[in-house]
Symmetry: C2
Subunit: 325 residues, 2 copies
């Protein structure tokens, strides 16, 4: 019997209302959830929402404006307690919508790094034209400055995730650069490329920004600065384009009428590009599934995050990564 997913129910801008609501949604969909946080507050919230879930008490919570350096000494913070449950085998995965830096720090301190991985990295799934319907971007923001060998480690983790969790066989790995030629790119990319070529991965060479969402790669490897910009631009551009479409469909009577007819089709597409669809991103390279969600997450994002954590927890990725080195 798999252990439940531990949710830092106090983390996030809309906690505990939306975290509890999301946990109830996920639970109703068959994902066992353990709420971690202030017992009294969580009980009251569950009562208000008319639901029941197990609670593990945590007296403290890392606020959104706290320093990530405080994480280590605030042992009773909900995010730390959630990670400890994973470490001790009482939870299959941990999810937090709180302070991202604090969640990363808690995962690192409590779970520790997998041998051979110097820098745990965030993996983001972005809807794309690849056969699996998505591209796996790594690092999406954990490490702003990295060395070439870190990119190789990111590539191994991203490929393992794509293969084991997303079930893409022999995932194509692309190195994000500014030209397909091996002679182009930053110093970092130029030095990383031979490492990837010799890696034994299904390396498909450099990939440009224009092909990130095309059917060119299943895994896109980059540093956490560029990756975070890519992830957020992809989200932001979709939002802006759909707002323009909405405006364009109100400019004439003909467009308005057509707009009514295409509304459902467009809404489904906009939902696909909505980050809440993914809910949270895994931090790969730590010894246990840990997910980092957006502070603004609503119940749908929380529920989706819990579902993804549950899916990954059962896939054996951490074990597979531990075997890599």
């Amino acid at each position: 019997m798999k252990q439940p997913v531990a949710l830092d129910a106090m983390g996030g801008d809309k906690a505990p209302r939306e975290t509890v609501a999301g946990a109830l949604l996920a639970s109703a969909a068959g994902v066992p959830v353990l709420l971690v946080g202030d017992q009294e507050k969580l009980r009251a919230e569950l009562a208000a929402q008319g639901g029941e879930l197990p609670i593990v008490h945590a007296a403290d919570v890392i606020e959104m404006h706290a320093q990530a350096t405080e994480v280590r000494r605030r042992r009773q913070a909900s995010v730390n307690v959630a990670m400890r449950l994973v470490k001790e085998g009482q939870a299959a995965a941990a999810v937090s919508m709180g302070h991202s830096g604090a969640t990363m720090a808690a995962a690192l301190f409590t779970l520790g790094r997998i041998r051979g991985i110097e820098r745990p990295a965030i993996l983001a799934e972005i809807p794309s034209d690849a056969p699996s319907g998505k591209v796996h971007l790594i690092d999406a923001g954990a490490n702003a400055d990295v060395r070439p060998r870190h990119l190789l480690q990111f590539a191994r983790m991203g490929a393992a995730y794509a293969e084991i969790v997303s079930r893409v066989s022999a995932p194509r790995v692309g190195l994000l650069s500014i030209g397909e030629e091996s002679s182009k790119g930053s110093q970092l990319v130029l030095e990383a490329r031979p490492l990837l070529e010799a890696s034994g991965l299904n390396f498909s060479g450099n990939i440009e920004g224009r092909d990130v969402l095309a059917d060119v790669a299943d895994v896109v490897v980059t540093d956490g600065f560029t990756g975070n910009v890519v992830l957020k631009l992809a989200e932001g551009e979709a939002r802006v384009l759909f707002s323009w479409i909405k405006r364009a469909l109100s400019t004439s009577l003909k467009a308005k009428l057509g707009g009514l007819l295409v509304k459902d089709a467009l809404r489904a597409l906009a939902a696909r590009m909505d980050p809440a669809e993914y809910g949270a991103m895994p931090l790969l390279g730590v010894k246990g599934p840990a997910f980092i969600g957006h502070g603004a997450s609503d119940r749908r994002a929380v529920a989706n995050a819990l579902r993804r954590a549950w899916l990954m927890a059962g896939a054996g990725l951490v074990e597979a990564l531990a075997d890599v080195e």
Copy 2:
């Protein structure tokens, strides 16, 4: 009387057919154009298209696969001749759809750098929610690795361009990063921020990927690696999203009918996001207006590039930048 725009008519995948066709379109729209390239070939192409334009002969042409280092010694290459026409005052601006690296090298060698600018940079205009309808991204790809002071120089050039060419008063300058807090970002960004704060520019702080197309900044400053990824992702994502929309609008009879009614409105939007709309990007920081276009440019892109070059040539940007330091 302003001098004409010199077009490297031999540069680009579709030269000279599309370069000549684009030049004729621009000329018909009131932009004086000078074709630079092989006299015989250009005369034949003009005759075939039934148009007339002045030609300056250039015996050589830098092929798309050439090394940028060859540019200096191939003095008779069309891109070098076009730059010399600018330097000698016989052309108001130079435009090439050929080898980007070669165009940059030709501009640097022939025109030289403006004092105070160590690294000329490419400026890209991307459609956005800003009041001017666009955001000015600099550097969009000329310098993959830069130092903090180069970002300050990019900021000055981008702001001057936005003010003088796009007529945005006191343009808001954002520094692309991975968090709005000044404590977040790569080492490069952390060191560049105080320089921007002390610059006297209308610096609005760090800007995240999600806000690049929002009404948050008029100028977005970044290194040429990140900038090139941003530019190409913005183009690529628009292409992918519109292809998904097209597909979504053929899934049901209702959607198909609606699709017919909204086709014109969506087509206008897709055109707005089409890079051919801009045609070419200026290389700022050299002593003369020089534009770098995409190798795949068709006649519309060529014509738009010539129009933009003409606009910038008359604006006095180079003179204004020379006064900055």
